[in-house]
Amino acid sequence: MLRFITSRLLQSLLALFLVITATFFMIRFVPGGPFTAEKAVTPEILRNLEAHYGLDKPLWRQYLDYLGSLARGDLGPSFKYPNRTVNEIIADKVPVSAELGGLALGFALVLGVGLGTVAAVRRNTWMDYTASTIGMFGISIPTFVVGPLLVLGFAIHLGWFNASGWYGPLDRVLPAFVLGLAYAAPISRLTRGGMLEVLHQDFIRTARAKGASEFRVVTRHALRGGLLPVVSFLGPAVAGILTGSFVIETIFQIPGIGREFVNSAFNRDYTLVLGTVILYAGLIMTLNLVVDIIQAWMNPKVRLEG
């Protein structure tokens, strides 16, 4: 087990290095730079700007400099926000996105696994169809429709909430609900599918034959195997949900990191792009490791290989 984790961490470190390298060079080949503006700066000003930010050095030099400061834990200063470092931006915004993501994830798991399980156990009944339909609407109606609709209903017409902002506990309700809904839908579908696979298997029949209650059969025996596909899905999904959602954070004006993933690329804020990529890659790799461990626990036949 320890060997497995160590080996995986080493692999991930190598993968992370490759991601950083690839991103570093990719973004430099994208047209437009941090100082490209509608009102073009004059060539002499551009030269001085590039010198100010060290962009006049050869690219390989900049790359080595970046790796050097990264080794010291310094993600560098932001190009777009000269007053702030990437470390600060990430430290400021990740907790906000993680809070929103945590709330949404909890809601999504409860709703998704619940709906999916009910649909599987009561397969081909009206409960199944209702759950499936709810799930499908959750998937096919995008958050940029659900979000504004809820704001119109609950904030503007009923006046229960602010239209947007991230100040009080009440401001968490709508965004967490909308984000959770978007994830609950696929979770419910995958749960249903996974549970159906498991519910036919012999050990479930055995359990039933032994007279275990249906509830016990489902919760004690079936869920463990039935959630296998859900858990695979959750690795990247949790990384996505915890690092925020561009759409939700924009609609609800939430100061999370989700917007920076998109905006930093559009602003050509090279260091911030790399910072967000490192954050996301680290999270993805950690979570996929966690997922592999959980899956091994859920199915003892799977051996951890590394």
């Binding site: 602010n162 506990p169 917007r259």
Partner: protein, 544 residues
Amino acid sequence: MLRRHLTLLLLLLGALFTAGCGKSKKPTATTGAATGGVPQIWHVGNGSEPQDLDPQAITGVPEHKLMMALFEGLATEDPQDLHPVPGLAESWDISTDGKVYTFHLRRNGQWSDGSPLTADDCLQSYKRMITPEFASEYAYLIYDYVVGAKEYYDRKLADFAQVGFKVIDEHTLQVTLKNPAPYLMGIIASHYAWTPVPVKVIAKYGPIDRKRTGWTRLGRLVSSGPFQLKEWAPNQKIVVSRNPHYWDAANVKLDEIHFYAVEDNATEERMFRTGQLHKTNTMPSAKIDVYRRDLPESLRIEPYLGVYFYRCNVNRPPLNDKRVRKALALAIDRESIVQKVSRGGQTPAYAVSYPGTSGYMPRAKLTGTIEDAKRLLAEAGFPGGKGFPKVELLYNTSESHRAIAEAIQQMWKRNLNIDITLFNQEWKVYLDSQHTTNFTLQRSGWVADYVDPHVFLEIWVSGNGNNDTNWKNPAYDALFQQALAAKSVEARYALYQQMDEILVDECPVIPIYHYTSVYALSPKVKGYYPTLLDNHPYKYIWIE
């Protein structure tokens, strides 16, 4: 073993969850439900998060709106027509040749920390602005005008004393220009490039010619305007409060302004309806008709000093033929575009210059019928649109630009029988295509930083960094140079008339409409006037 890890994970998740619930901050009061007098707190939507609050290290409109609250120039703007009125300087003299400006600073001028605001502060600020290592984006707004400044910026002149800035005494600053620039006071009043900064404060946090010293952070920032920084929650809001050391503090009516960083105009509009905002930055176009009908008292549609146009790359056939460019320009039904497509009260543009900029009315006008357009196209070798090559129209991704492009595409198809394909690019890719003239036709726009007709004409001079059409016209360039040296406003405007004629004749750009600013403003806000730059000096505003 494994199970223990899982338990740990679940515990972590649970902790995250509770942390999420527990860490919520106190709700802030939004609208004024106060007893007694109306709280003088103004809530404003301000577009995206500002880059910084250092007036010498920023570009962009949201930043500008904040600068107007925090800092003041030597001159500042009149609330109604934005003409220069005394700011940090209580008066100024301009020499008869128009080249020497003498500013008389206020004797009691102070920074927001109470320290005196002197002529030397101004001089050091301008020095910082044209220090090449500092690399300010707007350095050219100084070095284009002031004697020796360009040489200093290009490191050809090492001695700053030879640059045309001179401290006469503690409260007098003299600026010497290369050429008379009749619109310079407009720039000084309206543009933050000429805003003095508290160099002594900046020096406390690092070398003053570096950008990243962090002097603008909360608790450090010292300002000179009617307000000072009170709170800065990145990507949420910036709160400024009354600056007691401001020279005109007695006349500042608002206690606080809350600038919300709301990028999405639909979000902002919803915040307006729940009463979270008194003013939005913009308005989604679909909402304009609704406001006209249901909330007319909150809808503001005001002329805005900018022009929306299509740029031609005159090196690329078939647009290298001015008859083709003119045919395209004539075959657009601008009335339909502004009434049915853009819908924001814009005015059709038949010339590049904005009518009524500081009293300048361009006489040049695109005139001609669809028949004329067809004839021009035929003369250029494409009778009835036959043989017209595939031409692409580039625009930056946005629903409204797309709708206008689709409408014009149809007009050209119907009127000239030519096919134009549309394609969009992400903003910076699109700008890169523009600045490298890697396009045939391109949607674009130009918005003035200060009120003078010069703004819309200078960019078409050969070699101007924002020309981006490959269009060069010696006669046009000569007129521009003459205008710079013109002795009177009338003489200058007469030259501008000729320049506008050339633009309409040559059509390197196809003007479409002149902008308006469209937004929602609560009727409770008073002391607020429509202005051409959408600048609204805050000290005159109050809430009723």
